[in-house]
Symmetry: C2
Subunit: 378 residues, 2 copies
């Protein structure tokens, strides 16, 4: 995939000047991703939002404090009515109860089937709002305004919407594309450090599955990335969105290459469900999941020990967890068997080859069990 | 639309011999509708169902007693595991609570993203199962096996899935097409008379909006239709499915002509919500709704009094209600304003012209109010 690679930035490049525009190419459902600094202060970015008599901003308590009034100010120039809906902050609220509450509020405000929803927040707000948009009156337009690194580089792009079930992550959802994605890099500066670092896990993932040159670039730029320098931030978000947009354009509903994006996620979802939503951040679980799944790949002879060490080293440099939390191996197995990616009870992993490619592999329960036992005892 | 009209049956034709196959043409999502007698005893009909390790039959308590074992018998030849899920019978159970219960049961049975759902029942089972299929793991295949006249002629065809909200019918849903529709005419013979008659309302609707020759045929065959003679039943289902399939093929997501199918439904939904789900059957509300909306059309000069009388006469011959239940006119208005079809608070109706065509018209609140007052006082 490296043929599509853009020029890597030198340290002196100023990326924050003009917003970048990438397209997710999906025929008549294509849409732009805008990336830049201070976009929430730039009404021009919102010039092409769909018209309607009402707009709804869905946000969480934390993000609303920071950015709701800025977005409200821009949207009230475009829509006769702008309604804010604020949900609690945390993965544990990405559930059917909050989904129903948002739907009820839309009905109380007599929102119609042209009403536009704006998801202002991280992955939880984006996934839940997207699913509400997919279902409300059988579908209304929505726009993603991701304010976390994880949402900017991953969950806001590609139209995967969902809510969790106590038995599994993202078990109820839809493929439903947004009309636009707006990534304001400045919002990243207000993120708690732990959330920012968590987002870096998905960034590392793009390197591992599609672009080892990007992976190497990350290894060479740890300090400026940890310091959230704007040129590096801009490059990370742009490169990640570009890779994701390419994959989604090739395989919108995950019939082949989109499954590569699940690298680390079979184990990650088991960690999140096993510990209870909200204990580990999603990106933390993905970091650990990528390491465990790369051990699996190594045990199958798909990848060298050298790559396992590089991956662990990079994730640890970003202060991300690489050791599996202590839960019984049986629990991990039973949760993974129920994961969306399982087919006929066979657990599937997207495993990397250490060369910037991945493949989906069905692994036997006893092999997974043995490896989990070893890792949990280590 | 009359150019597509098939030969009308003479009384002597035997329609129950070979199953008919119609196609809903939607490019790579095209699917067949099979219509015939005793199809639930005919494994050949199910030869092309998608393969999976599990099939799930969703049905209601009443229908399950009659047909669950027959379908189970056929499917167990095709799938290693066949799981029945039985929900309560009635429109009041087409809600988010039952939706969640079905999802939880799928997870308890470790259903995966290839699991095929079979909706065995009337409109409630079909709409709810279809919406579960649309959302479970972001979409699994499903097959409609409608056992009521209303479901065979209307709700099972075209991929409109949904559940109700206390504030409005079908407020949460998706456009999600089935892989196949199987209409076994024999199941109609076990329907309670009231349910059978209710289904005739949607049949009359097809005549009114698209095919006045069919409308006249219905007027001329009231006795055999009331007596559920098989040739007439077969013709009614086939003609209705053919019209619906044509409309859906032209406009899957209701951007233009599909809205004609809403004739009678703006008022019908207000009756159902106003009285409480399950008080009137959907088809009963549609019958009354068509009459009220045709009075509106007449007040706008779109249709003659003669057609209003013909419509009322035909519906009354089928023992369907044509007088509006006594609720305050304000209640009707406020519910209709919240209907999915409203745009920016303007209530929309699909109104017929008495010549086999319809059009979508936005009508002023005060005009609707005045007419409702007159009808409620009459």
């Amino acid at each position: 995939m490296n043929h599509g690679l853009t020029k890597h930035p030198s340290h002196s490049t100023t990326h924050s000047s003009a917003p970048q525009k990438l397209m997710v190419e999906l025929a008549n459902r294509s849409y732009p991703i805008y990336i830049g600094s201070d976009l929430l202060a730039n009404p021009l970015i919102f010039a092409d939002v769909p018209s309607a008599s009402q707009a709804v901003i869905v946000s969480n308590q934390t993000v609303a404090t920071w950015y709701l009034s800025a977005l409200h100010g821009i949207l009230k120039e475009k829509y006769p009515t702008v309604i804010p809906i604020v949900i609690p902050d945390g993965e544990e609220y990405k559930n059917l109860t909050v989904f129903e509450q948002v739907i009820s509020q839309l009905l109380e405000h007599t929102c119609d089937r042209k009403t536009v929803l704006f998801a202002l927040g991280g992955g939880v707000v984006g996934d839940l709002t997207g699913f509400v948009a997919a279902c409300y009156m059988r579908g209304v337009p929505y726009i993603q305004i991701p304010t976390s690194l994880l949402a900017q580089v991953d969950s806001s792009v590609g139209g995967k919407t969902a809510i969790n079930h106590t038995k599994g992550k993202n078990m109820v959802g839809a493929f439903y594309q947004p009309a636009m994605v707006v990534c304001d890099l400045k919002t990243l500066l207000s993120l708690p450090k732990r959330e920012y670092l968590s987002g870096l896990a998905e960034v590392v993932k793009y390197g591992a599955i599609m672009d080892m040159r990007f992976f190497s670039w990350l290894e060479a730029h740890i300090e400026p990335i940890l310091n959230m320098r704007m040129p590096e931030l801009a490059f990370i978000v742009e490169r990640s969105c570009r890779i994701k947009a390419q994959i989604v354009a090739m395989d919108e509903t995950e019939n082949h290459i989109r499954a590569w994006l699940n690298f680390g996620h079979t184990v990650a979802h088991a960690i999140e469900v096993g510990l209870g939503y909200g204990q580990w951040l999603h990106g933390e679980a993905v970091a650990c999941g990528m390491v465990v799944e790369t051990y699996i790949a190594q045990s199958l002879g798909l990848v060298t020990e050298h790559f396992v060490e590089r991956l662990k080293h990079l994730l640890q440099a970003f202060d991300l967890p690489t050791s599996l939390p202590q839960l019984p191996a049986e629990d991990y197995l039973s949760i993974m068997r129920l994961d969306k990616k399982s087919i006929a009870g066979n657990i599937q992993f997207a495993l990397v080859d250490g060369q910037g490619k991945a493949s989906v592999v069905s692994v036997k329960d006893q092999d997974i069990y043995a490896l989990l036992q070893t890792l949990l005892r280590a």
